[in-house]
């Protein structure tokens, strides 16, 4: 008994600390433990791009995707958004083809067009060798990608060289490759002396110089027919990062801040009212165990919210749905135990013994129910799309927490209160129903 009382006091203290943590970190706008809200709740724009890997060797795909992510991140940061998120995703379709995606989350941004323009303005740069093939009477130039792309670019700068028009300096763009790119550039130029090395920008040839000799040192000059402002823009865009592979906007969504805020308010109000109704029902029907269950549930919720803050889990509408269902599971575990306890009381057991047996009898059902749910949650997380994953993650965490709280918290509290030999009053308190029996 003393053991259970000590544990109960400790458990209560931990519960208060958790609740205080949840409350204080939310009250402090600077805390790093505030809830992370998904775009559907906080408002913002999500853009999903498909990376076109058709020109990229299979072995280099993940490298190229990583490079793409880096470039887009730099771009997004230039856009000036608080806490942007750029993720890549490799999706295997059932047909065996893989698709590489880039997901850009821009909290607080609702102007999709501006966002798309800012991200999409980045040029794709690559170098191709021209080969002329005689087809019939006309000769047609075909361009073969060399594998040298904007990925290998370290920096670009503007310079003025001697132009075709005498006396006027023509703007040129000087490209500096990184060490890997320099090697590649040297190899390509040494192998293709006398050929045309075309420089493609966004799929269009902008400059088609003939290779005179092998070029070591990793520098190349684009002397297209630029005006000075054009050349300056190109340099700026190249420095922001040339895209290693072309991307295509596949899906986009924007949620205005009012809708998100309304969803949160409504969710909180519904949550509080829902919890209050459940608590009233539990206390009215299950009496003393109902009170205990309400305290255990409140502690369970504080625990869940604290976990969501600490991990942190990004809360979305589907995640909140997962939370509500897992609260239902936690209630159910308590109901199972109390019904069992009541049966044992009817069978003539003493109150304390009834509580003990009630818990052990309810255990197999709680175990099997919770385990099947955890397994299904894990599968959903593994198979699902992001909205299903948002649900699955919170659901699995919630079921795990319910597993612990129902079996340990309610049990410790009840055993700390219920005496060894109970009189009529104890039997009344542990029974259930709206009548006096």
């Amino acid at each position: 008994m003393t053991r259970f009382r000590v544990s109960a006091v400790v458990a209560l203290l931990v519960g208060f600390l958790l609740a205080y943590f949840v409350w204080s970190t939310e009250a402090n706008p600077l805390s790093s433990y505030r809830f992370k809200l998904g775009l559907d709740l906080a408002g913002g724009t999500e853009l999903v791009y498909k990376a076109d890997m058709s020109q990229t060797a299979t072995s280099e795909r993940s490298d190229a995707l990583g490079a793409l992510q880096g470039v887009i991140e730099r771009r997004v940061n230039m856009f000036g958004v608080a806490e942007p998120l750029v993720q890549t995703e490799e999706v295997s379709a059932l047909s065996g083809t893989t698709e590489d995606r880039l997901i850009v989350d821009l909290p607080g941004v609702t102007d999709i067009k501006a966002a798309v323009t800012a991200l999409g303005a980045t040029p794709t740069l690559d170098f191709r060798i021209a080969t002329t093939a005689a087809t019939g009477t006309s000769t047609e130039a075909t361009f073969i990608p060399t594998g040298l792309t904007g990925r290998y670019l370290a920096s670009a700068s503007l310079q003025f060289g001697s132009g075709a028009t005498a006396g006027l300096a023509a703007p040129q763009v000087l490209l500096n490759f990184n060490s890997e790119g320099a090697k590649l550039f040297e190899k390509i130029t040494s192998e293709n002396i006398g050929q045309v090395l075309a420089i493609f920008l966004d799929g269009q040839p902008i400059s088609t110089p003939v290779i005179q000799e092998a070029i070591p040192g990793g520098q190349a000059t684009i002397s297209g027919k630029f005006t000075a402002p054009e050349a300056r823009d190109l340099v700026r865009n190249l420095n922001f990062g040339a895209l290693p592979v072309p991307i295509e906007l596949e899906s986009s969504s924007a949620v205005g801040p009012t809708l998100g805020a309304a969803a949160i308010n409504a969710g909180v109000v519904a949550g509080i009212i829902g919890f209050a109704i459940i608590a009233l029902f539990m206390i009215a029907w299950y009496r003393l165990p109902g009170v205990v269950a309400t305290i255990a549930l409140a502690e369970y919720l504080a625990f869940m919210l604290a976990i969501i803050k600490v991990i942190p889990v990004t809360l979305t509408a589907s995640g909140i749905a997962g939370l509500i269902i897992s609260v239902g599971m936690a209630v159910d575990a308590n109901v199972l135990i109390f019904e069992r306890t009541k049966e044992e009381l009817r069978g003539g057991k003493s109150p304390r013994e009834a509580v003990h047996i009630g818990f052990s009898r309810a255990w197999p059902a709680i175990r099997d129910g919770h385990l099947t749910m955890i397994i299904s949650g894990v599968i959903l997380f593994w198979l699902g799309t992001s909205i299903v994953q948002g649900f699955a993650l919170v659901f699995v965490l919630g079921v795990l927490a319910s597993f612990v709280s129902a079996v340990s918290l309610s049990r410790v509290y009840l055993l700390a209160i219920v005496p060894e030999e109970g009189e009529g009053a104890w039997k009344f308190l542990l029974s259930s129903g709206f009548r006096k029996h």
Binding site: K113, S253, A254, G267, I278, V327, D332, A365, G369, I387
Partner: protein
């Protein structure tokens, strides 16, 4: 014992309900949202009252997006669904709408067709995989069960139950969507998945009681007819089944009345599913073991 004695009636009732919901799905169909088909959905709110829907449609038609659908959403907003829009087309529509009214775009989603079909595949596979694993786990958890039905018989029964538990709210939604213009979105899939979790737990509680009685009868060498064991298990767990369902239903009603617009349809599907699922667990899951037991005796 009431349910066991009248199990024929409950099986027929189930058949009728199933016929009704399958009929609803076949006749009205499930209007798939853009999450599945690809396309764009924009929600636009009118500050000073909403004009007639046909007028809004006429305003957008010049942008040239083919078939468009304009629905009322809430008191002052409309939901406009089109094929997948480019950012430029999106801008053009917003321009057309705000030409003679003060509008704000509340939300906008655009899903490419490839992404849509992938979501459908994933959703179907996720549900099938979950059902399969549940069956295997239950067969495993009940592998040492005594009595006429082997463990995998329980697993099979649970899966049959889950199929019904999924079909009933789906049929309800088909009817609901037919009359309100709602669409099947990804939250609908989340609702079905939640229902799977809830209903399997519900059935397990009853089966666990059956398992316990069977073990006790074997220990005490008590020759009790299988029907009686099942009837006893159902009536002993009925208070728990109803009370748990009641608490979840109360939470869902709070979500429907006070919750966000976006989760309203979700909560409604859950509500129907849980009421149907609880009825299903009590009136069908364990009684279904009786014909299965007879089949195994042959």
């Amino acid at each position: 014992m009431f349910i066991i004695n009248h199990r024929g009636f409950f099986f027929w009732l189930t058949g009728l309900i199933l016929a009704g919901v399958i009929g609803a799905i076949v006749v009205w169909g499930l209007p798939l949202g853009i999450d599945f088909t690809g396309g764009s959905l924009m929600q636009v709110s009118y500050e000073n009252g909403r004009p007639a829907l046909t007028d809004i449609e006429k305003q957008i038609t010049p942008v040239g997006l083919g078939t468009i659908s304009v629905r009322a959403s809430g008191d002052r907003a409309v939901a406009i669904r089109t094929r997948s829009q480019t950012p430029g087309e999106h801008e053009a529509i917003l321009g057309a709408l705000s030409a003679n009214a003060s509008t704000t775009e509340v939300a906008y989603t655009s899903v490419g067709p490839a992404l849509g079909s992938q979501f459908t595949h994933k959703a179907v596979w996720a549900i099938l995989a979950v059902v399969l694993v549940i069956m295997l786990y239950i067969a495993f958890a009940f592998r040492r069960v005594s009595g006429p039905v082997p463990g995998w018989g329980y697993g099979f029964t649970v899966v049959a139950m889950l199929a019904i538990d999924i079909i009933v709210p789906t049929g309800f939604y088909a009817a609901y969507a037919h009359f309100t213009g709602a669409e099947v979105d990804s939250l609908f899939i989340v609702a079905l998945l939640s229902l799977l979790g809830y209903c399997v737990n519900d059935v397990i509680v009853i089966f666990d009681r059956v398992r316990e009685h069977l073990a006790k009868n074997e220990r005490e060498n008590n020759k009790e007819p299988f029907e009686e064991t099942i009837g006893k298990s159902i009536s002993e767990t009925m208070t728990r089944s109803i009370n748990t369902a009641l608490t979840v239903v109360l939470a869902l009603i709070a979500l429907i009345y006070f919750g966000a617009e976006t989760t309203r349809n979700f909560a409604l599907v859950m509500l129907v599913g849980i009421v149907a699922g609880t009825f299903s667990s009590i009136a069908r899951s364990a009684p279904l073991l009786i014909p299965i037991a007879k089949w195994f005796k042959k």
